[in-house]
């Protein structure tokens, strides 16, 4: 009963004008509300009629808008019919006024100026003014509007979309409209191309992109993936255990739990390359459960404390090889105690990264108490200096020596000379890194004293001259070297990038002499950053007919001379080459790599492997 008038009330809007009274017979009982409405000159019937009118008008307008979009002349044809009602006349006049105002406005001038640049004939003054007018008429956010497509009424928000005809769209239609818009085609990746990053990762891991990995390597990786489910390795041979240790260390997965897998009471060696997650107790456990240990190789051993060393001493363990990296909590007193008690057994000692202990005095105790040392490596021991060098020359059986001092340490080259004189003749490997100011005199001593070397590393020096290095290799009675690392032997004067007239570091004559001397046996050669080696020297060394049958690893990074041609010559002269490192050799643009060789560090080069072209995506 009440439903009908109440519903109609909702439809009252501001345009309602109650100037028409309709005489009609009312039948049936009248409600209080109907009485009230009648007394206030409101007629339900009129409201209903008005509503119908408005609906019809909206439909007609929509139709016309459609027609208008097809035929631009519709506007003119429509005008007579529009003029029929006085209301429309007023509206039209208002609209005209608004448009005139717009035409005089700044915004109009601006827009016109912008559009005239585009030479679009459709945009004449009139249509532009209309467009601006329509935009201004558009409801503000929060107001209601009819959707352009489905005619539904909806609340305008700042996110409402504009439809194809310029009106606003309701949320549903916006979604559909958006879906209709063509999506940009997905980026296609040509097959055979592989991301530069992935490519380089694989190459650095030593994987050539050819064929499958060995079953062994696949299995080891799989075991490493599932290491937390493995309860016991069974009787895995030590070589595999070592490889698993390496992979797990690299993944930082050596934890107290996985450590148990590596503890084998019957084994004599333990190699763990990342002990950062182990605790002092875990080191105790290693020593306690592996009483026959002769080789202890542990890296990143921060919680390795005095008490562990003390335990070794108390048990009088048979340790011959002690390799510790970062055992920084062990005090000087404890180191000396260790050397005094167990020093006579030690055959190899390698220590890295000690900054709070291990001074010259400890080193002297070490050299005195460990006369059987054959292998000594001291790297980044902050407190060592000339005293340590002096002590080293007293080691009678030393065969392998590796020293890397901090850059800041001031070294008296005399001590290095005396080491060479004292132990040089026995040395099989020698590695001296970053002794920047040591000069040709050392090279001369190596030439005179060292006759059994197989490995030689002299790197990061800017004092050796090309002539001095060449003199080392010419007529050197030493056998051919298998491992040579001469990286970063160059002049470092920024103002003179080509270096002085008499070349500093490894340059033309030294490089040629080195390859003449050791080419036949050389397996590993690193001459990165030896940037004074000229193109001609490369051409000469890798000329047609020269063969370096054993060379497996070659690092030429930061050698600006190397280009595609030199790379091809290298492939021809080094049949066994497995890795070629060419970081920052920007002249390598397009190379054809033989099977089984990993070329590391090319940037944006076209790399062709057995007919499969790979353009690196950067």
């Amino acid at each position: 009963m009440y439903g009908s008038p109440l519903r109609e009330i909702h439809l009252i809007d501001t345009s309602y004008r109650a100037n028409r009274r309709q005489a009609r017979g009312i039948r049936g009982p009248r409600s209080a509300l109907t009485d009230f409405l009648a007394s206030n000159n409101i007629s339900a019937q009129q409201i209903q009629d008005d509503y119908a009118n408005r609906q019809a008008e909206a439909a007609r307008q929509a139709n016309e808008a459609q027609r208008q979009s097809v035929d631009p002349g519709a506007e003119q044809r429509r005008s007579p019919s529009e003029a029929n009602s006085p209301e429309d006349l007023i509206k039209k006049r208002k609209r005209q006024q608004a448009i005139t105002r717009i035409k005089n406005s700044k915004e109009f001038a601006k827009r016109k100026a912008r559009l005239s640049g585009d030479h679009d004939p459709e945009y004449d003054d009139e249509s532009l003014a209309n467009q601006i007018h329509e935009e201004r008429q558009r409801p503000q956010p929060g107001q209601l509007a009819n959707c352009e497509i489905c005619e539904k009424r909806f609340t305008v928000t700042p996110y409402s979309k504009t439809g194809p005809g310029g009106g606003l769209l309701c949320p549903d239609c916006s979604k559909k409209h958006k879906a209709d818009e063509k999506k940009p085609p997905a980026k296609k990746r040509a097959t055979g191309n592989i991301g530069r990053r992935q490519n380089q990762t694989n190459l650095l891991d030593g994987l050539t992109p050819h064929g499958t990995q060995s079953l062994l390597e696949t299995c080891i990786k799989k075991v490493a993936d599932y290491i937390h489910d493995v309860e016991d390795f069974g009787d895995l041979p030590p070589s595999l255990l070592l490889r698993l240790g390496q992979i797990l260390s690299r993944r930082r997965a050596v934890t107290p739990k996985t450590l148990d897998l590596f503890i084998r009471p019957q084994y004599r060696s333990i190699d763990l390359f990342d002990c950062a997650k182990l605790d002092t107790d875990d080191f105790h456990k290693i020593l306690a459960s592996m009483p026959h240990l002769t080789r202890v190789n542990l890296r990143f051993t921060t919680p390795f404390k005095d008490e562990i060393i003390q335990y070794m001493v108390d048990r009088d363990m048979q340790i011959k090889d002690l390799h510790l990296d970062g055992a920084n909590l062990v005090t000087d007193a404890c180191w000396r105690h260790l050397f005094q008690k167990l020093g006579h057994r030690l055959q190899s000692l390698k220590l890295w990264n000690l900054n709070s202990a291990f001074d010259d005095e400890t080193a002297q105790v070490m050299c005195k108490q460990c006369p059987n040392l054959q292998r000594l490596k001291l790297k980044f021991l902050h407190k060592t200096g000339n005293g340590t060098l002096e002590a080293i020359s007293s080691l009678p059986f030393l065969e392998h020596l590796s020293l890397h001092y901090l850059k800041e340490t001031e070294i008296d080259p005399k001590h290095l000379w005396s080491i060479m004189s004292a132990v040089g003749s026995r040395l099989k490997t020698l590695s001296l890194e970053e002794f920047e100011l040591v000069d040709d005199k050392l090279l001369q001593l190596i030439h005179e004293q060292c006759h059994s070397l197989t490995k030689l590393r002299l790197s990061k020096n800017f004092t050796f001259t090309d002539a001095g290095l060449a003199a080392l290799f010419v007529n050197w009675p030493n056998q051919a070297l298998t491992y040579v690392d001469m990286n970063s032997l160059r002049d470092v004067d920024m103002t003179n990038p080509n270096g002085p007239e008499q070349p500093i570091g490894l340059a033309s004559s030294a490089f040629v002499a080195l390859m003449e001397h050791s080419g036949a046996k050389l397996q590993h050669l690193n001459i990165a950053s030896c940037r004074h080696i000229p193109y001609q020297a490369f051409e000469q060394v890798f000329a047609e007919g020269k063969v370096y049958p054993e060379l497996k690893y070659l690092d030429l990074s930061f050698s600006p001379a190397v280009d595609d041609y030199i790379a091809m010559c290298i492939f021809r002269c080094c049949p066994a080459l497995q890795r070629l490192v060419v970081f920052a050799c920007f002249k390598i643009r397009d190379i054809h790599i033989p099977r089984g060789l990993a070329v590391i560090g090319t940037v944006g080069a076209t790399v062709k492997i057995d007919g499969v072209a790979q353009t690196e995506t950067i």
């Binding site: 592989i194 489910d229 390795f233 057995d610």
Partner: protein, 101 residues
């Protein structure tokens, strides 16, 4: 039989499962290659039949799968690793170590 080198060889597990694979695929394994080398006069080389006493049929099946997988993909680039069930990987690791593959 000794003179004619057949194109296929037979691999036998300790529980007597037999797998017939092509000679070229089988010789990816260093151990099998040395066993089958006709000049070595091992009985395996003469008969073309390798008895692998350390391996169960399940493991040997996976090994053969790898041999074929390797043979098939040896000229491809960027080959994904073969899928290995985790419960088998330790045994397979031992087998791979023994077979030198």
């Amino acid at each position: 039989m000794a003179d004619s080198v057949s194109e296929y060889v037979t691999l036998v597990s300790h529980d007597d499962y037999e797998f017939i694979v092509s000679r070229s695929a089988a010789c990816i394994s260093g151990t099998i290659r040395r066993m089958l080398d006709p000049s070595s006069k091992f009985s395996e080389g003469l008969t073309g039949r390798c008895k692998l006493d350390d391996m169960s049929g399940i493991v040997l099946e996976k090994v053969c799968e790898y041999l074929c997988y390797n043979e098939k993909n040896k000229d491809q680039t960027n080959v994904p690793d073969m899928d290995i069930p985790p419960e088998l990987c330790l045994e397979l690791l031992m087998a791979a170590d023994y077979l030198d593959t």
